[in-house]
Amino acid sequence: MDIVQMRGITKRFGPVLANDHIDFSLREGEIHALLGENGAGKTTLMRILYGLYRADEGEILVRGWPARINSPKDAIALGIGMVTQHFALVPPLTVAENVVLGFTDGFALDRAAIERKVAEAAERFGLEVDPSAVVRHLSVGQRQRVEILKALYREAQVLILDEPTAVLVPQEIDALFKTLERLRAQGLSVIFITHKLEEVMRISDRVTVLRDGRVIGTVETQKTNERELARMMVGRETFGVHREERAVGEQPVLRVERICANDDQGLPALKEVSLVVHSGEVLGIAGVGGNGQKELAEVLTGMRRPTAGRVVVDGKDMTGATPAEFTAAGVGRIPEDRHAGVVSELTVAENMALEYLEEFTRRGVLDREAIWKHAEELIQRFQIKARPTDRARTLSGGNLQKLILARVLSRDPKVVIASQPTRGLDVGATEYVRQQLLEQRARGAAVLLISEDLDEILALSDRIAVMYEGEIVGMLPAQEADPERLGLMMSGAVKERQEAYAEV
């Protein structure tokens, strides 16, 4: 029996057709994966079901009855709960307070009573959380459990999870999946949004694949495989990146010695981080977001001054150098936030020239022809879908990243600092970016890859360092690494070879 049916759902955002006559049904007691690349329209469809957006066309049936869902309140009343990609918790409040927030019967809050009720609910659904803990102090995985508990406490029979694994380490993912299996056994229906095939195969009963706002198909998980799903999702076979084994160079090109730095609040974010990257090597930095990776990347691109330590590039002391000096020293920089890497209101050609302006200037006057030619050349070489005169802001995420890659890699940099280089990109663009990074490695560049995507780290790195709370807590050759071991280090449970620096 279908607990939810969505029929002919269509949603436009201006010119973008985010959902195009989508039919989707959810059976009672199943885990139904909603699979699709970034931008396929998964989030939009679920926000419609939860009353956050209104569909332009189409109807929704809940338990066979037509439903008008104009707000999350309506959805909750129908037993639908959603955990969004960005959590909606109030950090200074306790778990119990967050759970009952907006769902209390009386006026007065009896703290002990609500904690007892929330503890009961947590027990019943098998969610391990401490009701009296303050949310601010919880890890991401714990916060997610609170969000799930919040939905279940409101008597949700349908639970929507939007990319719930994106923020978790492998061990937390395992725990989440166990929880979902238990909840399914209790009769809960779950919609599980993801773009990871392996998760679909592991947890779901059925899977619906979206591409470009349309349903490509709904299949029983038992009767399909990753290959078929990938083809449905991307519209062609994926090949993955091709990585040649080769000896790592002897030459240490980038040397970071006991670097300390503060974050924007002035609190220590990097604590004596030391590492070395050789020519022809990819050093991957794994870790859950917010453990100092951003600050490390900023120190190495000249955007943040370290408070102690040294950065040496090719024998030259670059500690505290400016971004322009890093560029001049042969450090190519791919920023974490693509939009912070280009001036979105300037044109593609201007953005491509900005970093090397002296080359395009004669006595202070821009050589516009040279800027134009340079842009056309890079556009062709890096297959960017844009014209030199387009404003950067009009480019898609993938093309914007190609613009940045083009700007950096066309210079044959000695060192490449790549920070979350494929975040938010579709499969095609992701492959392209990874392939480019490997080509840099083959060319002999020293590549420092900072990524929260473990698959990416494992696929590209020669050595892997793990960051936790501003420290390198482990450093191992890629052959010895596996998700379990890295996951343990990422969660701070294990420290391996604290003196990672001594190893090189």
Binding site: F13, G14, R54, M303, P323, V342, L346, T361
Partner: protein, 350 residues
């Protein structure tokens, strides 16, 4: 019940290009209400405001005279705003230039105009730039908000002018608060005999060309635009954002200083407190209406010059208060800003 919602979408191109026209029509529609309220005929009023000034040679030249400080002010403000430096202090920098002109005009008497006039213009530029320097330094070195500091310095400058005119420069003959008249050889030459149009207009036109050239053709212009449009991204790409802003601020102050020279040496020939009826502030409006584009700024300034001239004709002919000109300008700004903002939204039936 009908329900509506507002969606954010980009405006189509045809609408974007229509915006100035629509803004103009809407402005006249709104101000017509005021004119009718003042018991006058709006059609006739607009004839005096917009057409009459252009119908005779004398008043057409007067439009250019009125536009001169407005063009310079719009250019001065644009130089700063483009780089993301919000210089609200053009008014004070203008007076700094005026003081320099009043002083140089009395000491350079013996030299030929070919020498004195460049010195006057340069002196005014330097004075304006110097007055713009402290807030710019505070901004770049200590991140002190320039909007506040430049605005406050305007009042400080007015006190200085007042102190000078009531102290050392008070006219010994009449007792008026006005500086001694500058030497004839330091006065800006007239462009057209028997009119008030002077060399300052040429300087203003040149400033527009320079603005256009710098912004679109030079490396520094590209750095300024990058710094103004995306500070962090510009820094990431190696632009020295602080230095770029500082230089932009000084150029902006310098050009504002030139307005003071143009008004003292071209119109009044001595310094008085009422040299500027707020040109420095009007420049902000003009720069905004001109969308920080050299030609747009020139058009907006000429249009404002026309309204300023027309408002005088209008009030003489029909007895409507002269403030109508300013009201029209202010309405125009509000309407244009609102349209620029609202063009990105669509109202739809929910």
């Amino acid at each position: 019940m009908l329900r509506f919602k507002i969606e954010k979408t980009g405006a189509p191109v045809w609408l974007r290009s229509l915006i100035p026209v629509l803004a103009l029509l809407l402005t006249f529609f709104i101000t017509s209400g005021l004119i009718i309220w003042g018991q006058a005929n709006p059609i006739r009023a607009y004839y005096y405001l917009l057409i009459a000034p252009l119908s005779t040679r004398v008043s057409a030249l007067e439009v250019l005279v009125k536009s001169t400080p407005l063009i310079l002010s719009g250019v001065a403000v644009t130089f700063a705003f483009v780089a993301g430096y919000y210089n609200i202090g053009a008014e004070g920098q203008l007076y700094a230039g005026a003081i320099a002109a009043a002083w140089l005009g009395t000491v350079l008497g013996g030299l030929p105009p070919a020498l004195t006039i460049p010195i006057m213009l340069l002196g005014g530029f330097i004075a304006g730039a110097l007055w713009a320097l402290p807030p710019a330094l505070l901004r770049v070195k200590l991140a002190v908000d320039e909007v506040v500091t430049t605005l406050l310095l305007n009042s400080v400058m007015l006190f200085i002018v007042s102190a000078l005119l009531n102290g050392p420069w008070r006219s010994p003959v009449s007792g008026w608060p006005q500086s001694p008249e500058i030497a004839p050889s330091t006065m800006l030459p007239k462009l057209v005999p028997h009119s008030r149009l002077h060399l300052g207009f040429v300087v203003a036109v040149l400033s527009v060309v320079v603005l256009w050239f710098v912004l679109s053709r030079t490396a520094f212009g590209l750095k300024m635009r990058a710094a103004g449009l995306g500070r962090e991204a510009a820094r990431f790409a190696g632009v020295n954002v602080g230095r770029t802003m500082l230089i932009a601020a000084l150029i902006s102050g310098g050009i504002a200083g030139v307005i003071g020279v143009s008004e003292v040496a071209g119109i009044h020939f001595h310094l008085i407190e009422e040299i500027s009826p707020g040109y420095g502030y009007t420049g902000i409006i003009i720069a905004t209406l001109g969308t920080l584009n050299a030609w747009g700024v020139a058009v907006a300034a000429l249009f404002f010059g026309l309204i300023d001239t027309g408002a005088q004709t209008l009030s003489r002919a029909m007895g409507v208060p002269i403030y109508l000109g300013e009201v029209t300008q202010a309405t125009m700004l509000l309407v244009t800003l609102a349209m620029l903002l609202l063009q990105n939204y669509r109202i739809r039936r929910a």
